[in-house]
Symmetry: C2
Subunit: 510 residues, 2 copies
């Protein structure tokens, strides 16, 4: 198979030759995940037909294979927030400079990345207009208008849209792109208590997207003051970790904005006592980054590995005819298998292309990460069975036709669970508990996700950043986990040796 060939490419010459062959068939990866992670990732997202590179740097085409995953996640998240009485809306892409700059801290966080429209046709605009990097400043002037009394609260809106952040550092498909798709929820409450509750309800949905759909283990926690959302009160997040690069990745964030924006945008209401009060606000978002994290965590040297719950094709059925065998019988058995699975609500397809060999098709669908392959050949036909091959571990299982649906469902559940378990085990192996600066530096060099007691002082985080600056990027806090280990009296901060206030995860990050 193409994937394993790549491992053996010998001299430069034979390597080049193989590359040519691969270009021809479009199969196989030339980079291994363990050796050359960045190139491996680019190759996987392109060869699996999720991404096409675009002629503007930092912009990527999301092909149907990726878009289907986004839609499946949407199909979970959107009804969940509707149950919470959150309503969808759509605010404009454009922001006028006056509004954008209203919240100082906030705009400072985004200003360098804001794209500006200055012309239409050949005419210069009177004032340049910004493209939303996020919509707090777009929306909140209208929240101020719409919210008058306590009966107007809570106001809970969400939008599915594109946002633009013209970043110059290392664009990576899904993970860091100049335009991306996301949902952004923006809610306003009469009390901090209600806002606090919602922050965690949404964070739990984000955990479920990662753990239950993408089979990616995440840690729920609170961001440090330095890493929180610009202009907000506090930020919670789900943090994933990429063992191969030893980098954390912020999976999704649920912010309590407190009353800071309410103050700037004058979002006031008359409370039940007839007094003027200020709202408490949240904002929360997850983006197409989710897909990139999934690719990084599960992908292997044969390509993408899709968790069944987000795979647009869960089962690919491939006929394996022999010269003198009953080809039509095999084709019919494949069609029947697909129909039976589809009727049972399983997303199954067949690959009947007559210009590719079964072996080529195996590699093709492995590259695309389809969780389960079903092969049907003359022997299977005779035995009234099909042979299933798992994408996650390559295991092969014969399934009697009579048990098809039950067995396939069970297998898909097993694959889903196994992907999560394996990912969690790998992630857990990367977690290192440290107590001293020396331990910290050593763990960082070993690309660990570091759990350390911390004094929770901003200056100390700044200092850690400065002291770890280098080619690989500085270390910073990932989050302070909600699930805190015991912190014995007298424990010192690993960096400042002041009394530790909490445990925090530290590491390099995307």
């Amino acid at each position: 198979m193409a994937g394993s060939e790549a491992k053996n490419s010998g001299s430069k010459q034979s390597g080049a030759k193989k590359k040519e062959v691969k270009k021809e068939t479009g199969l196989g990866l030339t980079n291994r995940k363990a050796d050359n992670f960045g190139e491996w990732y680019s190759e996987v997202v392109v060869n699996s037909e999720m991404i096409e590179y675009y002629d503007i740097s930092g912009c990527y085409i999301l092909r149907p294979w990726a878009m289907a995953i986004w839609e499946i996640m949407q199909g979970f998240f959107d009804p969940e927030i509707k149950k919470m009485k959150i309503k969808n809306c759509y605010f404009p892409l454009f922001v006028s400079p006056g509004v954008l700059e209203k919240e100082k801290e906030h705009v400072e966080g985004f200003a360098p990345e804001v794209a500006w429209v200055t012309k239409s046709g050949k005419t210069d605009l009177e004032i340049p207009i910004a493209i939303r990097p996020t919509s707090e400043t777009v929306m909140y002037p209208y929240y101020s208008k719409w919210i008058r009394g306590h009966r107007d609260l809570p106001l809970k809106l969400n939008q599915w849209c594109n946002v633009v952040r013209w970043e110059f550092s290392n664009p990576t498909p899904f993970i860091r792109s100049r335009e991306f798709l996301w949902q952004e929820g923006h809610t306003a409450f009469a009390t901090k208590e209600e806002a606090d509750v919602e922050v965690l309800e949404i964070l739990e949905l984000y955990r479920r997207i990662y753990e239950e759909f993408l089979a990616v283990p995440v840690i729920k926690g609170k961001k440090s003051e330095m890493e929180k959302f610009a202009g907000g009160l506090y930020t919670t997040s789900v943090e994933a970790f990429i063992p191969n690069t030893g980098r954390g990745v912020q999976g999704a964030t649920s912010h309590c904005l407190g009353q800071n924006f309410a103050k700037m945008f004058e979002i006031n209401f008359e409370n039940e006592k007839g007094e003027k009060a200020m709202v408490w606000q949240n904002s929360w978002a997850y983006s197409t980054r989710t897909i990139g994290v999934m690719v990084m965590v599960h992908g292997d040297d044969k390509g993408l590995v899709l968790p069944p719950k987000v795979a647009s094709v869960q089962v690919i059925v491939i006929p394996v005819p022999y010269k003198d065998a009953d080809t039509q019988g095999i084709i019919d058995a494949c069609t029947a298998t697909v129909n039976t699975l589809c009727e049972a609500g399983i997303r199954a397809e067949s690959d009947f292309r007559d210009n590719y060999s079964p072996g080529w098709k195996y590699s093709h669908w492995e590259m695309k990460g389809v969780p389960l392959r079903i092969e049907i050949g003359p022997k299977d036909l005779a035995k009234k069975q099909a042979r299933a091959a798992r994408r996650d571990n390559g295991a092969k299982i014969d399934i009697a036709n009579d048990n098809l649906v039950d067995e396939v469902k069970k297998l898909l559940d097993t694959v889903q669970q196994n992907l999560f378990d394996v990912a969690k085990q790998k992630r857990d192996e990367c977690i290192e508990v440290v107590h001293t600066w020396d331990e910290f530096v050593q763990a960082l060099n070993q690309r660990k996700m570091i759990l350390a007691p911390w004094c929770d002082e901003e200056a100390v985080e700044a200092d850690v950043k400065a002291r770890t600056k280098g080619e690989m990027g500085a270390a910073k806090t990932l989050c302070s986990p909600f699930d805190q280990p015991e912190l014995p009296e007298g424990t010192k901060c690993f960096a400042s040796e002041k009394p530790a206030k909490k445990w925090s995860y530290w590491g390099r990050s995307y």
Copy 2:
């Protein structure tokens, strides 16, 4: 009721006084549809809480009340195109100038309206980057890359996204805005025959959106050479008509692009005979304009009128308590009614707000266009019934509790059908068949939708435009209907007196 009060506003003083009251309660319209259509429209979309005006001209906020309609239409259209094996994807918002300008005719059609990003943060971009006005030139370089052989065809993609056309003429919410939401389908086929078939399949879906969902009658037809899509082969459309303004409105378009873009972008494939061939392409789109057309057609002096199929609230249940009546019993009956309806799949809500009177609530939900109101008072409670009021014609019907679901379903179907029938009758009354220039001018002055025999020459359409230029805007072809009346031998063109080749609809348009 507020709506009818507006009709009687007498002296300037009392008019002003009423306006103040209305501002206070947020109810009622100050403009009548028949008298002052433009202002009426703006008032309806704002007061019904569909639209909020934005601080950038030509951009509008789509509030949940509008967004829900968009989502319901999406819930119909998206599965339909998926049945046709069309897959969703997402291409970038940005286009590089080189690509944008590749198809000359096409870019000329859009160039004056293109918004340009020239700066990020404080840095000038090396090359300005355009924001997509539509995505032909964004997508087709990649179609060229992805399509190699006949097995890669058909390629059928769609995206749901925002597009930007920086127009300067008269922005109108939904109808003409600088940013809008749409779907755009882009497909490539091996043969013209396949492309032709798809053009009409999609057009039929657009007809269904208008007629079956929005209850707006439309005419299917072909655009003239002058009015067709820039760079395409031919354009089909569904055309609606707004009787109050006497203007046609292009409802949605399904274009056959022929091979023009294929040539410019070199989208070639090896056909089954091993010969190099060029693909045939289509593109097709409908936008949030659909919602504006619906508002214009059905709205009345009490506000919005929503067809049940697109109403996010189909039934609003309002308690009508009396001082000495069993208020809790009424509230319970309302709750039971809502629950029964929701369980039957009807979108029902109650309005239990205690700071508004039933009358205020009637006006409020009339303004928002809810198709059916159910009132429950002490008498209804005693008689085990509810009173329903239709939004479309004000008719009131008592419904026995035992028949609730059946009767409400029947009523909603009736309202849906009646809205269409009434709209069709009004539209049909506006259609005027003319044979001569004088008849044409007279009909145009009467704001008709004019059906006329035409020689089908571009120069003649240009001439008609020039001769009818004026304050109201020039007349042009709306479409040549697929459903052609008989054209007797020797019939002359109304404008050129040359032999007529077809019947075409003419008029002013949005």
